[in-house]
Symmetry: C2
Subunit: 411 residues, 2 copies
């Protein structure tokens, strides 16, 4: 099926998706989860072929992301059941106003419509995204990376078998077969067909979407996250937080890339930080003032604008909370930033001045996550301000409309 | 000042705008309102020069929109005071969650940042937009049409005098001096400088923004609005509603352009409709089934996809609520649609099936308006689903961020 035909089919099923009751959606999710288990052999065989073809072509860490096992298929099925257990956002009454002319204006949550997701090589995203879109009343159009096309095809075949087993249209879940750049470009320009485009992937993909998309788009997942160690920081907490935010999982978007240190605590804190991070062989890229205190690589100007996703931390000495906030405003991607301080006024000033999706006081940036925020799931982390911001759960995949009831009112 | 320099100045003042207290913003709005009155002579002289230059160049209706009078300047000042009286959306606590790990997660409303507005020749928009942006903690970048540049320059000079009289930076309100297409294109592409672009104007402008914008953008104000007269309609209500929606102000986006009539009431309703609209010389463009009942112009295919903004109504006979909803899905701009019916099931089916910003039961589409919705003001009517939808008041000019407080939590 061509991408154009697929988009027509997706658009045609929008009213049916929006009209599904909560019970029907949960029944479909259960059937899709069961179908994943029933089709596990097919899925694993397709995945083995993908892995075989990708070996030597993509990096070992990417092979790991691509690889499925029986346990991973089970976990995909469990994920779908977990989404079934979440509250249904569709139909939620957001506000109600009775006007003096007798009109009653209700603001009600509705699905976005067709959500297209462009992602890379993790086949579990296919099942996750399908579940989140279905539960939020949306039709999904999935466009994964070419390395995972066999796996994704098998996963979507299973999901559609589950849907059709319940008498629901398979076109509620759609996979773009063409994994060339042309199909991604097609989705970005499909006005009238794609109501929301969510790119999930590296900086290049996000950039291409933002530059080229003519459909509404949510930027996700680039995180140059900062931790600012204030003059009034508890330095032990600061060490624990920076260590956790840098080293617990360096490849993810909520990992810290930059540590800003108030000049008053630089001499006490930096040697302890260097010692703590040495255990994980973290490379420090130091501003001149930090380099005067501890050894490390001199930071180049690009080091404060780089998402390392690696055991590298840029370090800069600053003069004040305001100085830290100004550095963040100039260099952050708007994802997550933290202050470590025991001074309530400094904490308040930081929270007010820093305009990122998540601003922490005395906690690790690693908590920016749908599950950790209590959303129960996550489609990605939005770093933009229009539409959803921060972790995107089910509600963040919806819009709203006004329903106004009268008895003949004219103006 | 070049547009690039202006955008730098606007971005630089963002933190100051976001940090203004409610009382400070209200004091500034009051000072700006007073300054408009104090500078009324300058503003009226500049406007007279604009009108003089535009006469014979633009249509009389546009001349009327461009023209200011002492009463109109007073009404601009009153509008600013009305905005001062509205609740401040910034800082509103949208949700609060205490997690079992001790983190407290607060979702708080924040300004968008720099809002750029591209509009046409009405100088009152300059004052309105400046007031709405300031009250919502945003910095505005105003780019009006070339016909009104003298008026806009005088209005912004007055507003800045008001700001500076209070010791606030004049750069909270910015006017783009260059009214060429190049400056509009510059705003559309100013990533990192413009946080939200709102085009207010005709289809061509909206289209250009949607096609070219690399900054987040909200489409506004194109309305192909439908009124569906159901089989179970009270025909007197239907006549009143269609008459009001078509003729009370045909040039606005919430005016009706299309009437859909259920076949069962076509013979009873259409002659009465033709008679009622004849009083306003409304031209009817009829589908073949409607043309079999009443005289009128045969509708061409484009007549069901045209925002006439004139005394013209396209009329089509349909077979059911579902048929009406399908026509609307295929032809509407997603602004406002209405059903006239006494049948609760038909009303519910219509409200569920029609995915437009405002869906009415037994009321005129003309109510889609910030004031009529109780928002107290309006920046425009969004016809998109990402971000604000429908009438945009102060809250619709904001985003949110998460502020998370802990005591050393790591993950």
């Amino acid at each position: 099926m061509t991408t154009a035909d697929l988009l027509c089919a997706a658009r045609a099923v929008k009213p049916a998706a929006a009209a599904l009751s909560t019970a029907e959606k949960n029944r479909l999710l259960e059937a899709m989860a069961q179908a994943l288990l029933d089709h596990a052999d097919n899925i694993l065989a397709a995945n083995a072929a993908d892995v075989e073809a990708a070996r030597g072509v993509i990096a070992p860490v990417m092979i790991d992301r691509l690889s499925l096992s029986p346990a991973r298929v089970e976990s995909m099925a469990e994920g779908m059941r977990a989404v079934a257990a979440l509250p249904d956002p569709v139909g939620e009454l957001l506000s109600e106003t009775a006007r003096s002319n007798g009109l009653v204006i209700r603001k009600v949550r509705v699905p976005m419509g067709v959500i297209a997701i462009i992602y890379e090589s993790r086949p579990n995203v296919t099942a996750d995204a399908a579940a989140l879109c279905l539960k939020s009343g949306n039709v999904c159009v999935l466009r994964g990376g070419k390395e995972s096309i066999r796996s994704n095809t098998a996963v979507v075949a299973a999901l559609r078998a589950g849907l059709e087993h319940c008498g629901a249209p398979g076109t509620l879940v759609n996979l773009v077969e063409d994994t060339s750049r042309a199909s991604a470009a097609h989705l970005m320009e499909a006005r009238g067909f794609v109501d929301l485009l969510i790119p999930r992937g590296g900086k290049g993909l996000i950039r291409a979407c933002v530059d080229s998309a003519k459909v509404p788009c949510i930027e996700t997942g680039t995180g140059i996250c900062h931790i600012y160690v204030d003059a009034a920081a508890d330095l032990q907490k600061a060490l624990d937080i920076v260590y956790n935010a840098k080293t617990s999982r360096p490849s993810v978007c909520n990992a810290a890339e930059v540590c800003l240190v108030h000049r008053d605590v630089a001499e006490a804190f930096l040697p302890a930080l260097a010692a703590r991070l040495a255990g994980k062989q973290v490379e420090l890229r130091l501003c001149p003032r930090a380099a005067a205190v501890i050894p490390g690589t001199p930071a180049g100007p690009e080091d404060f604008d780089t998402e390392f996703l690696d055991y590298i931390l840029a370090v800069k000495v600053v003069d004040s909370v305001q100085d830290a906030a100004a550095h963040i405003a100039a260099h952050s991607t708007g994802h997550s930033e933290a202050i470590v301080t025991e001074d309530a006024a400094a904490a308040d000033a930081f929270c007010a001045a820093v305009d990122s999706a998540a601003v922490y006081v005395n906690a690790s940036t690693r908590f920016t996550d749908g599950g950790e925020f209590g959303l129960g799931c996550e489609m990605g982390i939005s770093t933009q301000k229009l539409g959803a911001r921060g972790p995107m759960g089910l509600a963040e995949l919806t819009s709203y409309k006004y329903i106004i009831r009268g008895n003949g009112q004219v103006r």
